[in-house]
Symmetry: C2
Subunit: 527 residues, 2 copies
């Protein structure tokens, strides 16, 4: 069923000599299937086919694109247990997580289908002519969003479904009218091929142009680099490490024609626990955070890796409680030996820093590839002086920073790098006394949470998943939710264009019945 080959449009292709296998982290063995890395020829074929497909795909109606997206969702569901088993065999993650993530993936596809079937997302804006205006007549100008062109998507290691082959980036790009070329993640190439087969089938069933989607295998960095440098590629989506994202950003910025790279990268997701909250809720907070820190073996980009508080007896109790709670949680399997290796070595680097205390460290025997959770503490001053302590440790690890006072707390927050999220834990009315810290936090993050945990990223229009660098390369866009479609489009104006030649979105009759800004008023009326 799985072939190990690349999809160049609807064609399976395997011209290359470089091969690799995926790994079953739970069983600690290599999987059998051999995957064949894409060659330069295959990369060029995929991009050229995508450029050809774009000529048709960019003007396919929203309703037809919706059929395509819904068909992808249907085909993914039809893969049934085959997909779930493949997912588990390549990720070390449990079946429940596989099914939950499949639900999220299918839900995302359907929400983009709904968005483009409705059609109002194109931000249609119309200013009608005023031929009599003095001193100059005013032209009729009409604007809408149009797709950028072929998009390359780099899947995430930690979301083999929801942020990979048919994940958020792909769904948003296809919805916008951009063909997609996926650079398959080597850790879950089999899951990727299964999902790719679903997309190809859906494209054929709904009459999409060949090349609207391709899936290229790759075990190293060369395929991805060639794709980003290819003149036919017009934008890039990436979820992964800061090093990886920055490298792609640099390649794209150095092109003759620079292109946007939307990379969602690292984040330690600072959590500020204010004194009264600490006083009144020490135990429940410790329980909640022990669970958030270890969720999915800490392999979430919104994992709370940094807890900030003001030195007090209550903070000391919280640290004690958190240490106790977290040790009671059973370790779980990480995605891949490389991931746990990175976890251990990043943790070791942090633990070797001066004036750092380890207050909890799971030290019972664990299975191979299972991650031991660790909690450390450090003084505010030490944290301020040592940038190494600001770095993310991807896994079930968190650091509590004990600040001297509110002034130092604000200083610590202000010095943080850009983050996806920031959280304030406070009692009623308490936040008003720390507005400096709240504003400083807002300046460093894309989403601010009150009395919750950063893990759990709701897919909804109001979600921002992204933030100041290095949490993402362009804080002006979100990677989650329907508005993530805005990454792949540009505004386009028609001036004095004949009504019959305008796209339906901009025609006088408003045949799609969409909401438009007409002469500065929002309306669905005809003109």
């Amino acid at each position: 069923m799985i072939t190990g080959k690349n999809y160049i449009g609807s064609q399976l292709s395997a011209k290359g000599a470089t091969v690799y296998k995926t790994f079953n982290a739970q069983l600690n063995i290599e999987n059998e299937q051999v995957f064949i890395e894409a060659t330069t020829d295959e990369i060029n074929e995929a991009v050229n086919l995508a450029s050809e497909a774009f000529k048709l795909f960019r003007s396919i109606s929203g309703k037809k694109k919706a059929l395509f997206l819904n068909a992808i969702a249907d085909e993914i569901i039809a893969l049934d247990d085959k997909l779930i088993h493949m997912y588990c065999s390549e990720t070390g993650l449990p079946e429940g997580r596989a099914k939950g993530e499949r639900g999220r993936t299918v839900g995302q596809l359907r929400s983009f289908a709904e968005l483009v079937a409705n059609g109002s997302w194109v931000e249609a804006t119309i200013d009608t002519a005023e031929p009599e205006r003095q001193p100059m007549p005013k032209s009729d100008i009409r604007k809408m969003m149009i797709p950028l062109g072929p998009v390359v998507v780099f899947g995430a290691s930690n979301f083999p479904l929801a942020y990979s082959t048919a994940g958020g980036d792909t769904a948003a790009a296809l919805a916008s009218g951009c063909p997609v070329i996926v650079k398959s993640h080597p850790m879950h190439a089999g899951t990727g091929e299964l999902v790719a087969s679903a997309i190809v089938k859906a494209a054929q069933k709904t009459g999409m142009p060949n090349g609207v989607f391709s899936n290229l295998n790759s075990s190293g960095i060369e395929v991805g680099a060639q794709l980003v440098k290819h003149s036919g590629v017009k934008a890039v989506g990436f979820t992964g490490s800061i090093n990886g994202g920055r490298a792609l950003y640099n390649l794209a910025a150095q092109r003759e024609e620079p292109i946007p790279v939307f990379a969602e990268m690292g984040s330690v997701n600072p959590v500020i626990i204010l004194p009264n909250a600490l006083r009144n809720r020490t135990e429940s907070l410790a329980k909640t955070y022990a669970s958030s820190i270890t969720l999915g073996a800490g392999q979430f980009c919104t994992n709370p890796g940094l807890l900030l508080g003001i030195k007090s007896d209550e903070l000391s109790s919280f640290i004690q409680d958190l240490s106790k709670e977290i040790i009671e949680i059973s370790p779980s399997c990480m995605l891949h030996p490389n991931i746990i290796e990175a976890y251990e070595s990043n943790k070791e680097k942090i633990l070797s820093q001066p004036e750092l205390n380890v207050v909890a460290n799971y030290d019972l025997d664990v299975q191979v590839n299972y991650a031991r959770q660790t909690i450390t503490t450090v003084k505010g001053n030490t944290f301020l002086q040592n940038p190494t302590l600001h770095q993310e440790v991807f896994g079930p690890f968190s650091m509590v920073v004990e600040c001297d006072d509110a002034v130092q707390l604000e200083a610590v927050i202000s010095q943080l790098e850009g983050q996806l999220t920031g959280t304030i834990i406070a009692d009623e009315g308490e936040t008003s006394n720390y507005l400096g810290s709240v504003f400083a936090l807002q300046n460093r993050v894309g989403r601010i949470i009150y009395n919750g945990v950063p893990t759990g990223v709701e897919v909804c229009p109001s979600m921002v998943h992204g933030g100041p660098y290095p949490s993402s390369t362009d804080s002006r866009f979100t990677a989650v939710g329907i508005h993530s479609i805005k990454r792949w489009v540009r505004p386009f104006s028609y001036q004095d264009w004949p009504n019959e030649l305008l796209p339906d979105e901009l025609k006088n009759q408003n045949p799609l019945g969409i909401l438009r800004l007409v002469n500065n008023k929002q309306t669905k009326h005809v003109i």
Copy 2:
């Protein structure tokens, strides 16, 4: 009245030793006033002051920002003839143009004032909580646009008012809540200082934080480079040459924290003249285009530098008519000796290319700094093979490309670099026969015009001024019109945030009465 000094916030400052003067192109003499270039210290002061000002300015209400923007417009008007005379003495442009551009500048400021006073522009998006949802409760999440931080604006040589000190970039950035530091254009430093004084006065009168605006003098590239590299700067606006814009883009991309550069750069604005239109309207087209090509001595970014047609007797007649018409237009003064020098040398470079014909060249005596208009023709094949012919000649110059047939026409269009505009001149029904060319053109431009001229950029919500690289560095945004505010903002989410601590835009009561997307429905209702 003019001091030649920098404005660091409201303080005049001149610590530097590098000085320069502006030039009166009409009189061909240097102006008297000496301007003092900003030093590294002054650059740091301006950025630090802007960062401090941002802490307050970012959350100032839309209504107060509107007062500020309208006050800037009032103070510019109050400068009266002093401003007009200064403008003319530094640009070689006539008084009528100065007044027209002042009107545009003031109009832009007032339209942004209206936008932020109304407040709906923040794209408020609210998803209310569902505590009972299974399997997981849903949080309350609310999103809106917030400003990025201090913005550096590089003014344009050819728009000393409308795209300089208080021009579109500055107005949009201030409207969004970003402090602005202007890198003053050396060719019109006096006009810049007058407008800066108006902004500073307006900021003081309306109680804006000091540092919300600074104006730094600079005769070379060093001040601009230091500003773009400064870690306190969060975005850049630029209007000018491809070399200049790309250099700033590269600097910004190489920063530890890369920042967005919105550079509006070169464009030859291709005009496709279809056969029937040519047959029926040769003379009037020739007149219209002779006038568009020479408007403002050709110093517009939307100047039609490239006319494309299919070889025919009618095209030959058109070329003849255009040549005759353009020679009858009196040459006009260019902005500065450097500009006419660049015009002459770029033109010479093009004229020295093989298989290029000069069909019109104004060869009567002209005053110093006045530009002689030139029309050239070239065969489609020659154009396709020589990229030098694709380069912009900034000034009253245009090239007619005679294509063999419709296929070659489409090939020429497809090979063009990214452009601000593209124009189709067609008779009724004719466009339908050239849809390949129309689609190819759409793929290369930001705005497409039917039976008009590209010059004249209306300031309205539906305008796109920007396009694929190199016409701009980020085609996903427009530089003209109220939606240009989107360049300076990022989306931000509040999760489960207490109602009283939310910004007014997101409060349940909707105290600003703005349009919001609440649970996926556009509404002004309270929650």
